[in-house]
């Protein structure tokens, strides 16, 4: 593989997410919270992942067995904030970066030229394009938050782990005379994790032993999506069901046992 085209950098802080798929009921509250928090315009196509602007999408997984053995699971998919992001190296204008912000993959809207090469590169479909001008029906513009800039049509956007919340948390820590680079677990939480009614989404610094994600990510039930591709995601999933873990990656015949 053309190894040198890949970026592998380690950062002091590594913000990550552990999503317990067994706890997720597929209620979609995380999607709604994400939309409201990040000024994603309302759309009649909200559940059409091909057309709509969404930063987080809840996929429905099925074990494919007939009743009574049929089983389903819901898998919320934010941006994986890959350790080795396929999208960053391909961007021709450096409109997306992975730097000292806890390894969050950024998207610089005023610089994006809308070539969509990053979308082609991302196997998770975490990146979406503004196919039309964003529009808020009369009155709904009052719901806009001052923390996230709205995006024009013609640019790509993606989940940023609510990066503005990270900035606010650091500012608060500085004001209180604490080290902004060593935040407590609850100080910075993305909207989806905060709102999840079953507590399926846990957020924190994967490198900080005092944060729950540090232990959860090492669980025997933990897995990451498409690990074999070498993207090194910072989002982990948990499931005690082997068929769910197995759907986290692609497997050929000879590695039947993988993921189980």
């Amino acid at each position: 593989m053309a190894e040198t085209m890949q970026i592998r950098e380690e950062f002091e802080i590594k913000w990550g997410m552990v999503i317990d798929v067994d706890k997720c009921t597929g209620c979609g509250a995380c999607q709604v919270a994400c939309q409201a928090e990040n000024n994603i315009p309302p759309s009649t196509q909200s559940f059409n992942r091909l057309e709509s602007v969404h930063w987080l999408y809840v996929y429905k997984l099925d074990n494919g067995l007939p009743y009574p053995d049929n089983d389903i699971a819901y898998l919320p998919r934010p941006c994986m904030q890959c350790g080795n992001p396929p999208c960053v190296t391909v961007c021709p204008v450096i409109a997306t970066t992975k730097e000292e912000e806890g390894g969050i993959v950024s998207q610089i809207y005023p610089r994006c030229i809308g070539c969509r090469y990053c979308m082609a590169a991302c196997p998770y479909h975490s990146r979406v394009f503004n196919w039309f001008d964003p529009q808020w029906p009369r009155g709904m513009d009052k719901t806009l938050t001052p923390y996230t800039s709205v995006r024009p049509r013609g640019v790509v956007e993606k989940c940023t782990f609510c990066h503005h919340r990270f900035q606010l948390a650091k500012r608060r820590a500085r004001a209180e005379g604490r080290d902004p680079h060593h935040l407590r677990e609850e100080e910075y939480i993305p909207a989806c994790a905060e709102v999840c009614p079953t507590g399926a989404i846990v957020f924190g610094d994967l490198k900080n032993p005092r944060h729950r994600v540090h232990q959860l990510a090492q669980s025997e039930h933990a897995f990451r999506l498409l690990e074999r591709l070498g993207t090194d995601p910072q989002v982990y999933y948990l499931s005690r069901r082997s068929w769910v873990r197995r759907q986290g990656d692609n497997h050929v015949q000879k590695d039947q046992q993988r993921g189980e």
Binding site: M1, M5, R49, V93, I113, W131, R153, T231
Partner: protein
């Protein structure tokens, strides 16, 4: 000045009325494209059938196709000026014009394709040296300048312009420096043809396109160069044949066409050897490593027939015809083989641009199919109409074919 006085001396062209009618037809295509362009720029790219899964579609596929087929310009220049194959002087002017319309046409489509066309210059200002696309942006625009420089002396050869001493001397000086520009064009083209292939080979999140490679260059880098130089010469030959059929005049000696066919045939054989190796190593190496089987790369819509069409009908078959002297000596077989070789590269570029994105990578995801909208077709046909317009004007008013008079005597 009469329109007749602009036509090269000693050659026959159709009546102005007939020519105007032909131009009118081409302008209808341009008009169709302008209507689509109005909607695209007015409302956004949502008026196309592109979507979050198919970030690339018809436009990128056509861009890849016309740039591959337009490779005939640089490669003919390389063969004539650098390798000294003098026979190609009979077609070199047409090669430059076709190259020019292919590249300007590709840039025209890119202006629709990118969401923020006014930021296109960011490619230079904020260049990401790690991106294959950056290399493509730099090389294509630089090569377009070379093509313009190569086109200028052909324009200066116009009967009326050539009368002016300044322009005559200028044309002469341009001709003297042409080997230099042919060399620059070859250098630039090798890199952007390759980088267009590299763009897909480096997508390590997309097993359909992902390839092993040499240092930073995936195999697709070299395969795109090879397929472009294999199909480019016969594409130019095919255009000349179409022009002969429509004008009813002999323009290029058949010996030149056969030579182009032979060159393409040889390159096609080399390309196919490596392309078949590539498919084998991809199917037995890249795919199992990423957890996929060969069969999982295809479905009913994006079937294996596309691969066999590319390798068999658009590869082996034309290679056999073009490499067999008795077969390529028959004009209809030569033209058929040329068309099939072009078809092969069309299918190859299409699957890399579109099927790459159609294959679901997450196990719980699904296949989607993409069909271009009328707005995408409209702008694409506008590009085709524009290209035909430029070639038609060049054919009517510029001495494109040095042997035309002799062949029609």
């Amino acid at each position: 000045m009469l329109e007749q006085e602009l036509i090269p001396e000693g050659v026959k062209r159709c009546s102005p009325g007939k020519f105007a009618a032909w131009i009118g037809i081409l302008l209808l295509f341009v008009l169709w494209g302008l209507c689509a362009a109005f909607l695209i720029y007015g409302f956004g790219l949502g008026v196309t059938n592109l979507n979050n899964y198919f970030a690339f579609g018809l436009w990128i596929a056509v861009d890849l196709i016309v740039i591959a087929l337009g490779a005939g310009a640089f490669f003919s220049g390389f063969l004539k000026y650098i390798l000294g194959i003098d026979e190609l002087k009979n077609i070199i002017n047409l090669a430059v014009v076709v190259g020019f319309v292919c590249y300007t046409g590709a840039l025209m489509l890119l202006a629709f394709e990118i969401g923020q066309p006014l930021r296109g210059w960011f490619g230079y200002w904020h260049a990401n040296v790690h991106s294959m696309l950056t290399e493509v942006i730099f090389c294509i625009t630089c090569y377009l300048i070379v093509l313009c420089i190569e086109f200028v002396p052909i324009i200066l050869e116009n009967r009326q312009i050539h009368k002016k001493p300044l322009f005559r001397n200028l044309a002469h000086n341009f001709h003297i420096t042409m080997p230099l520009f042919a060399a620059v064009g070859t250098f630039l083209s090798f890199f952007h043809q390759g980088s267009l292939g590299g763009m897909f080979g480096v997508l390590f999140g997309r097993p359909f396109a992902l390839r092993e490679g040499f240092f930073i260059w995936p195999w697709t880098f070299f395969l795109f160069i090879l397929s472009a130089i294999a199909s480019g010469p016969v594409f130019i030959m095919l255009i000349s044949a179409i022009m002969e059929k429509t004008s009813g005049r002999k323009l290029v000696p058949f010996s030149t066409k056969k030579l182009l066919g032979k060159i393409s045939g040889l390159l096609l054989c080399i390309y196919l050897f490596f392309r078949i190796l590539d498919v084998w190593s991809w199917a037995s190496g890249v795919l199992p490593r990423t957890g996929f089987t060969f069969d999982e790369m295809f479905n009913q819509f994006y079937g294996q027939w596309l691969l066999w069409l590319e390798l068999g009908v658009g590869g082996l078959l034309p290679a056999i015809i073009l490499m067999t002297p008795s077969l390529r000596a028959r004009s209809w077989l030569l033209y058929t083989a040329a068309a099939l070789a072009c078809l092969g590269v069309v299918v190859n570029r299409y699957v890399f641009a579109v099927q790459t994105l159609a294959v679901p990578v997450m196990p719980f995801d699904q296949w989607f199919a993409y069909l271009p909208s009328w707005t995408e077709w409209g702008t694409t046909f506008m590009m085709v109409g524009y290209s035909a317009l430029v070639v038609s004007l060049a054919y009517r008013y510029l001495p494109l074919f040095p042997r035309e008079r002799e062949l029609n005597a």
